[in-house]
């Protein structure tokens, strides 16, 4: 896996990947080298799929032979609704599996839309399933990814059902801030932040106008600021208090 969201400055190859310690790749690649399930495959075969920004990388309803893991770039897990609206279920960051559900069912339930230019490593699905059935460690890792997805999906339900606009936006930003922090991508009090207000609106069930108003209040109250694809955190404690 390549290393960061600035791939042009980075050596390619999984050994250099700062995401390696975080996600499924670590289990697949490390166990792959140890061959715990058999000697049939030295590693689970993979292919790379680069994707330009703002394009659909994987489409809702598509049957996938490979299980993609994001190596570079940001993307959105998104559903298209019959009345023409869209809903973003969550954001996909480098090092994360597109969805653990693909291990059990090859049909993708939502689309993956690239927010920035990205690249995906697609692990062969049948080999991964075999490895999972032989190796409890891989199975447990897949279950952990599945549980993380459930938690995120149920927090979205709580956001839409019971939280105010400010709480929803604050929670989304803090969730991304924490995940980027774990990946070592936060630099002091700022981080690259490629989302537009329409992305935030589609992920929180608000209108872009309302998101603009909420972000304006956050800036005015000295909580955080988003400018030119960068997020600056100015009062994380108060933002967390607001996020409920």
């Amino acid at each position: 896996m390549t290393a960061s969201i600035s791939p042009q400055k980075t050596k390619t190859g999984c050994a250099n990947c700062v995401m390696r310690g975080l996600g499924l790749c670590q289990v697949l690649l490390d166990l792959g080298e140890e061959k715990p399930w058999s000697n049939e495959w030295p590693v689970i075969s993979q292919e790379h799929r680069p994707t330009p920004a703002r394009r659909i990388a994987f489409r809702q309803g598509e049957i996938l032979d490979g299980i993609p893991v994001a190596c570079e770039g940001w993307a959105a897990r998104m559903v298209q609704i019959t009345n023409g609206r869209r809903q973003i279920l969550s954001f996909l960051l480098p090092g994360e599996i597109v969805t653990a559900a693909l291990v059990f069912d090859p049909q993708l339930r939502f689309s993956i839309e690239a927010v920035t230019r990205g690249c995906y490593r697609c692990f062969d699905r049948s080999q991964l399933r075999h490895a999972m059935f032989v190796s409890p460690a891989i199975f447990e890792r897949v279950m952990t990814a599945s549980n993380d997805e459930r938690k995120r999906a149920e927090q979205l339900i709580t956001d839409l059902g019971r939280r105010t606009a400010s709480e929803r936006v604050a929670r989304l930003i803090l969730d991304l801030w924490d995940r980027l922090g774990k990946a070592g991508l936060v630099d002091g009090d700022s981080v690259d932040f490629p989302l537009r207000q329409t992305h935030i609106a589609e992920a929180t069930g608000l209108t872009p106008v309302y998101v603009n108003k909420v972000l304006g209040e956050f800036r005015k109250n000295g909580l955080m600021t988003i400018t030119e694809r960068s997020l600056q955190m100015t009062d994380e404690t108060r933002l967390r208090r607001l996020a409920a």
């Binding site: 559903v79 009345n83 653990a100 409890p136 599945s146 339900i157 019971r162």
Partner: protein, 223 residues
Amino acid sequence: MIDRALAREPSPPNRIAQIFWRAGKDNVIRNGDKNYLSGPFVLCKGWAYRFYRLPDGRRQILSVLIPGDLFSAAALLAPDSDFSVQAATDIEFCQLAHDDVRQNLASEPAIRDALGRSCSAEMDEAISTSIALNHSDAALRIASFAHRLTRRMLARQISIEADVYPFHLTPVDIADATGLTPDDVNRALQKLQQSSILNIASDRITIIDAAKLDGFIGSYSTI
């Protein structure tokens, strides 16, 4: 269902660690409890619901549990719960022994596959719920909620008669499951009944016109 797969023969005689009973409205699990350390739970009789309580008391019901449901498939191996569970009626539930579950999962790939499919179904349910909650129309939110619930009961052959299903939630519970107020719920239920779509009364849901219900929900679902 995964709980049936976990319980099938051959299996160790002590696979059910303990059986519990609770009265309606009793708390079963609180967010952060470590109960899961001993093993996952399956609801045997009655209705319950999983919910998330915000610090200021607001409540969001995440899913309704009917007999045969694991409290959460995806959380099966998790050490603690990030949700709470409350009984909607008098309930009986059991806790499977963690060691036996792990042993069965390790030795039987079919059980892992069944668990995986249950996790996928749980995610599908969560996605459908969030899509419904993103719509401002209260009647559509409730119709979608009733549709998903009755579809699960139909798959499990739980019904009173054709298109009539048991229902054990209060208007406050429905409100907390659909992000509405109890007044919104009452108005929306009247609208759904007057439109001859469905009726919720006297501990039962009646689907008055299944095609009309499908059409109503289909106007706001995923492509």
